[in-house]
């Protein structure tokens, strides 16, 4: 089986003036289709940095990153944008729905940046409603984010991440802003999606969430400290 994500000796440095911060050092690992990977580690270890490199929003300083067989390093801004749009879905700690858009409009947002004629408008709208239905928000298409609870917002965000049927879902502390009950629901939803074959990489601080994954990567000080299947 070929990996969806494969990293080889990936490093990331931040320069501010003369000071160079080595945030990621020689990271090498692969993620295969259908995996549910949790990344954990202390604050400042470089988890978010790693996730956003995986998400093609930042470029590594050195090393090779292949997403679904494509060497990401060679791509232009347009190329990276297309990858984010078609192969990746993001879920954020603070939900990041656009407050002026309804739930449905938020879910439809990724389609704006996809090539496609007008014919697809109706199909897209139906698909967005199906997904919202699936994540349990079938009644709230036209609610604004301000009218939804944290858990509901995160469900809309997950629906949005699913909209373009991505290869991988990347989630940065998706339960970080939720109480434990809502957190459990979101984890259950993610596991359910993974059960249907969706590849998911999530960053978390919460050991209980981490334990739910099938594989746990621990990062310390920019290096992989451990990488093991969960019991």
């Amino acid at each position: 089986m070929t990996p969806v994500i494969s990293l080889d000796s990936l490093t990331k440095h931040y320069k501010s003036g003369k000071i160079v911060t080595e945030v990621l050092k020689e990271i090498t690992f692969s993620v295969f289709p259908g995996e549910l990977v949790a990344i954990m580690g202390p604050s400042g270890a470089g988890k978010s940095t790693l996730l956003y490199i995986l998400g093609c929003l930042a470029r590594p300083t050195s090393g090779v990153y292949q997403l679904d067989g494509v060497a990401v390093g060679d791509l232009s801004d347009e190329g990276l944008s297309r990858l984010r749009n078609t192969k990746l879905g993001f879920v954020f700690q603070s939900f990041h729905l656009i407050p002026q858009y309804t739930a449905l409009e938020n879910v439809l947002l990724p389609t704006v940046y996809r090539k496609g004629g007008k014919k697809e408008k109706k199909r897209e709208s139906l698909r967005a409603k199906d997904i919202l239905d699936m994540v349990g928000l079938g009644e709230r298409f036209h609610y604004l984010p301000g009218e939804l609870s944290g858990g509901q917002k995160q469900r809309v965000a997950i629906a949005r991440a699913l909209m373009n049927d991505p290869e991988v879902i990347l989630a940065d502390e998706p339960t970080g802003n939720l109480d434990s009950k809502q957190s459990d629901e979101i984890v259950r939803l993610l596991k359910e999606l993974n059960g249907r074959g969706r590849t998911i990489v999530l960053v978390t601080h919460d050991p209980e969430v981490g334990q739910q994954a099938r594989r746990l990567i621990t990062i310390r000080d920019g290096k992989i400290y451990s990488d093991a299947p969960c019991s």
Partner: protein
């Protein structure tokens, strides 16, 4: 995808109504004032043209006047360069419908039965009435035989007829009036034309050109030739053709100045409008400054909007928007609001002008609308360019992580 961004820009503008309104205000005000200025300018021009048409100097008439130099002079010149033969020769051009040469004989007293009145005497050909838009109200017009036989006949302007035959103009027909030493039979009375400014169009007596040449001027030169054209649209081209033609007829070498002038109503309008043009130019400068100010307002408010919407930009980037997509969206937001602001301004201006149409001379033409669209696009593109570029440069990760680096 480009289209999607444009659609999104329209939708997102509506979702930030406060920013949008703030940015629009300046454009609305500038374009509103532009519209009223242009409308008043056009209206004044239309009024002048209308008056000139009544004067027999419509858009399809060229006037060839004796003597070179500036277009307008206060007194008829005594230059003797222009001949009836020049008028005759102009008929050979297919674009010429009719020519009317004339001699102007200062103001002369005319007498009838102890009454007398000082008026303008003009020596004209039969074509004069048609070319200068005069109609005969009573009696008959002048004809070729009057010309050929140097007959002492005349047509009275309405004012002259009223002065000499008060209350009974019809009685004038067939009577003889004295002009200088000579008696002229009244052949007809002209229909009323009214005033052009302080100038009374009906204060005139027309006599045959041939008669005037023999009895008054004692020479055959004419003061002016009115040339009526078949097609007013190319008047500028014809004006040049007539000029070249008469220069040639007068055997002028290239280094000699014209000894005649060819004037169109456009020249007259420009002359009359010069002072109002200067005013318009000043107002247009004010308008450009106010558009500049609106542009600066748009740029600044948009920069504020971009930094307030950094998170939104970050989200869109994560969902697949490229830098260019973001740039296009913000650029079009600027274009939309500037365009919509312009159109609102021009409509408000047109409405204001319409309601004041009885108080001020103003014409609503297509021009301010086209200008509004032009300026709207221009201001939008120019003022939106920098903020849009900045929007494209927003670092999505920083935006998403919320100021944390």
């Amino acid at each position: 995808m480009f289209l999607n961004n444009i659609k999104l820009s329209l939708r997102d503008s509506l979702k930030h109504p406060l920013f949008t309104l703030l940015m629009m205000t300046g454009v609305v005000v500038s374009i509103f004032s532009m519209t009223t200025i242009v409308a008043v300018g056009d209206g004044t021009k239309a009024e002048i043209i209308n008056a000139l048409r009544g004067f027999g100097f419509g858009g399809d008439v060229l006037m060839v006047a004796a003597g070179g130099g500036r277009i307008f002079r206060h007194r008829p010149s005594a230059v003797k360069t222009l001949k009836p033969a020049d008028a005759e020769a102009l008929k050979q051009f297919p674009f010429v419908k009719a020519v009317a040469p004339r001699q102007g004989i200062r103001r002369y007293p005319v007498h009838f039965m102890g009454r007398s009145f000082k008026t303008r005497i003009l020596g004209v050909t039969p074509a004069y009435l048609e070319v200068s838009n005069f109609q005969v109200d009573m009696g008959r017009a002048m004809d070729g035989r009057d010309m050929r036989d140097h007959r002492k006949v005349c047509l009275l302007g309405r004012t002259v007829a009223e002065e000499l035959f008060p209350g009974n103009r019809a009685a004038a027909l067939g009577q003889f009036i004295q002009i200088g030493k000579f008696f002229f039979r009244i052949k007809g009375i002209l229909a009323e034309k009214g005033q052009l400014g302080r100038f009374d169009m009906d204060d005139r007596v027309l006599i045959p050109l041939s008669t005037a040449s023999v009895l008054f001027i004692r020479d055959t030169y004419v003061h002016a030739i009115s040339v009526k054209l078949r097609d007013a649209a190319k008047i500028g081209i014809y004006q040049e053709k007539v000029k070249a033609f008469i220069r040639k007829r007068h055997h002028l070498t290239p280094d000699q100045p014209d000894d005649f002038r060819v004037v169109s109503s456009v020249d007259v309008v420009q002359f009359v409008n010069r002072s109002s043009r200067e005013l318009t130019a000043l107002l247009i400068r004010i308008m450009i400054i106010s558009l500049l100010v609106s542009g600066i307002i748009i740029t600044n408010v948009m920069l504020a909007s971009v930094s307030e919407r950094r998170v939104e930009i970050g989200i869109k980037r994560a969902l697949g928007a490229s830098r260019r997509d973001i740039l296009v969206q913000f650029l079009f937001e600027a274009i939309w609001l500037s365009l919509i602001g312009s159109l609102a301004g021009v409509c408000a201006g047109a409405a204001t002008v319409y309601f004041l149409r009885n108080t001020i001379p103003a014409a609503i033409t297509l021009r301010p609308f086209l200008m509004a669209i032009g300026f709207g696009l221009l201001v939008g593109v120019v003022s939106g360019a920098f903020p849009a570029w900045r929007a494209g440069q927003v670092d999505p990760i920083r935006a998403i992580l919320g100021g944390r680096s």
